[in-house]
Symmetry: C2
Subunit: 334 residues, 2 copies
DNA sequence: CTGAAAGCGCTTACAG
DNA sequence: CTGAAAGCGCTTACAG
C-alpha cells in the first residue's frame, strides 16, 4: 500500500504538496507538480478515498433503498440513478428491504453510519424513525414512489390516483361497464391511491367498483384472477395494479382460454421493458421512471450543494402508452 | 455529530473503554459497561464506520460489477448476492459497465480506492489490467459468468457449451433437423461458447448449423428473426441465446402469425422470472443463478478470512426447465 | 481491568 | 509557493 508520505518522500516534497497537486491546487510550482506526478506514476500511487472522506467529511456514495431490485420498476429506477451518479463521480449503495420495516431500519442506520452523501428511499415503512436520524445528521433523503412521514424529506412521486383514473377512463370510454380492478396491497400508499383512482372513476360514471384483491405479486394476481373467473359474472375489462400482477393475470387468462382484448380488455399500471412484447402488447399507464430518477438526483444535489433547504415535492403524471391489450372497439355494440 | 470522545466524557471513562464496550470486549468491568451504554443511549451515539474502516483497514462493502442491472439475469444475481451480504453485515456497491471497457476500468479503480472487501465482477473486458490492480492490493476478485485473464481471480461460471448442447439436443431428439441458433455476441465468452455448444451438437448429428446473428438484445433478435423468416426455408426449431432475445423472437413470430411450439419450437437460454408466464410458457436451459451467487460469496469469504490463497474455479451445469415452447411431438411424423 | 498515546491516510488552516 | 502540525473518528498495542 503506497501512501501519500511515500510519494512525498520519493518526490522530495511534503505530503501537503502532494495532496495539493493531486487536488488540482494551482498555487503549486510547476517543477514540484512535475516531480509529484512522476513519483505518483513511479510508485503507482492511488489515494485512499476512505481517508479522504474521513478528513473532508464528504462522502461520494449515495444510498438507494428499494423493496426489491428484481422488480423491473426498481431495476429501471436504479439503472437510471446509476447512470446519473456515474456522471457525477458518485457510486451507489443498493439495499433491498423486502417491504420489511426492520431491514429498512437496519439499512438506513448503516447508511447513516457510513455518512453517505444522500439517500433515495422507496419506503417500505414511511414512518420509520431512522429516516429522521438521517436528516438529523445532515444526510438528505428523497422519498421515491411513496411519501414519508418526516416532512423534511424531499419527495418524488407519481400521481397514482390520476394514473389509475386514466387507465379506468380509457376502458369506460371504450364502452366497458364492468371493469374490475386487480388490486395490489392497499395497505401501502401506492396501492391505496391506485385503488382510489379506480374506484372514484367508476363511481363518477355511476358504476359500482369491483376489486379482485391481491398483493402486487405474480402468483397473488393469478390466484385472484382464478377466483374472479370462477364467479358468475365475468367482467369485460381489467385494470391491473402493477407490472408483476399483469404477468399473473395473463397467465390465468390463458389457463381459462381467454384472450385480451377480445375476451377481456386489459390496462396495466407500470411499463416494464417487456410490456410491448407481450401477447398482446400491453396498454399501460406508466410512471416516467427515468424523469423521476433525474429529479431525485437533482433534489439530492441541490441539498448537498446547499442551494436549497426547504423540502420539495415533485409529482409526475402517469403516461398512457396505448398498445393492443385495451382493445379499441365498443364491446356493447359488438 | 456525537463522537466517541464525547461519549467517553459523558460516561467518565476513556475513549478506549467506550470502544472496547462497543466492540464487545469482555474484559471491561460491568459498571463501566453500564455507564458506557447509558452514555451511548443518552447522546444517541453511533460509531462512524468510515473512521473504523480506516483504522482497522477492514471495509464492509462488496463491489458488484455487471454490464446492466436492468437485465433480469443480473437483477437476479444482484438480488441473490444482496440477500447473502445482508446476512453477513456487508453492503453492496453496484456498478453498471454497459459492456464498456472504460466504465469497467473506472469503476474497478474506484472500488480499489474505496478499499472494498471484495469484488464480484461479470467482466465486460476480461483482460482489463485494473483487475490485477485490485488483486495486487489484496482485494479478492470473483469473475462471474465470464472468466478473466488474470489467473489469480476466482471464477464462477456456467457451462455454456453444455447448456447450449442440452437445448439443441432436446430439439433434435424431438425430431427436428432444421434447428437455427439465434445468436448473441460471439465476441464475448458466453456468446461464443453457446454458439459452439449449438454448432458442435448439430455437426455431431450430421446436420449443418445455421445461425441468425444478433446481439443479446430484444430488437436485435427481432430484426434477425424478421430476416430469418423472410428466407426461403423456414426452420422448425430455434435455440435462443439469452432471455432478452427470446422476447424479441416471440414478438417477431407473432408479427408473422407463427406460434410456438407448433409452427416453430423454441428453447431459450436463461430463465427470467416471467419465462413460465409467457405465451407459451418457455422451455429453457437456465444457469442456477442463486447457487452461483452463493458460491461467489463463499469464495470471497474464504479469501477474506485467509482460509484459501489458491484460485478456485467453479463450473455450474445449466438446468433444463421443460415447459411448453419446445413442443413434444416429433414434427417429421405430424 | 483501564487509560494515554500512537496511528490509519489523508487535508488544510497557519506560518513563513 | 511550501512545509510542519493538527486533526477527521476511530482502534489497539503498550504500560500499569
Amino acid at each position: 500500500m503506497v501512501t501519500i508520505s511515500q510519494v512525498a518522500e520519493h518526490a522530495g516534497v511534503s505530503p501537503a504538496t502532494v495532496s495539493r497537486v493531486l487536488n488540482g491546487d494551482e498555487r503549486v510550482g510547476d517543477e514540484y507538480k512535475q516531480r509529484v506526478h512522476d513519483a505518483v506514476a513511479a510508485l503507482g500511487y492511488r489515494p485512499n478515498r476512505l481517508a479522504r472522506s474521513l478528513r473532508t467529511q464528504r462522502r461520494s456514495a449515495i444510498g438507494v433503498v428499494v423493496s426489491d431490485i428484481e422488480n423491473p420498476h426498481f431495476s429501471e429506477m436504479v439503472r437510471a440513478v446509476e447512470d446519473l451518479a456515474y456522471g457525477a463521480g458518485h457510486h451507489l449503495l443498493v439495499c433491498n428491504t423486502d417491504e420489511s420495516a426492520e431491514k429498512q431500519r437496519t439499512y438506513l442506520e448503516m447508511l447513516a453510519d457510513e455518512h453517505v452523501l444522500g439517500v433515495i428511499l422507496s419506503p417500505s415503512h414511511p414512518a420509520g424513525e431512522e429516516i429522521g436520524l438521517l436528516i438529523d445528521r445532515g444526510i438528505p433523503v428523497v422519498a421515491f414512489d411513496r411519501e414519508v412521514s418526516d416532512q423534511r424529506a424531499d419527495v418524488v412521486i407519481a400521481d397514482n390516483v390520476k394514473g389509475a383514473r386514466t387507465a379506468t377512463e380509457l376502458l369506460l370510454r371504450a364502452g366497458h361497464t364492468d371493469v374490475v380492478y386487480v388490486g395490489g396491497r392497499s395497505d401501502v400508499e401506492t396501492g391505496a391511491e391506485r385503488l382510489d383512482g379506480y374506484a372514484l372513476t367508476m363511481r363518477r360514471a355511476g358504476l359500482v367498483p369491483r376489486v379482485a384483491e391481491a398483493d402486487f405479486r405474480i402468483e397473488g394476481a393469478r390466484a385472484a384472477m382464478t377466483e374472479l373467473l370462477a364467479a358468475p359474472q365475468r367482467p369485460t375489462a381489467l385494470v391491473v395494479a402493477n407490472n408483476l400482477m399483469t404477468v399473473g393475470v395473463l397467465a390465468a387468462m390463458r389457463e381459462h382460454g381467454l384472450r385480451a382484448p377480445d375476451d377481456l380488455a386489459l390496462v396495466g399500471i407500470d411499463d416494464p421493458f417487456w410490456a410491448p412484447y407481450l401477447d398482446p402488447p400491453l396498454t399501460v399507464v406508466a410512471q416516467p421512471v427515468r424523469k423521476m430518477a433525474a429529479d431525485a438526483m437533482e433534489l439530492l444535489h441541490d441539498r448537498v450543494s446547499g442551494r436549497r433547504t426547504e423540502p420539495r415535492r415533485i409529482v409526475h403524471p402517469f403516461e398512457l402508452r396505448r398498445r393492443v391489450s385495451c382493445g379499441t372497439a365498443d364491446p356493447t355494440t359488438q
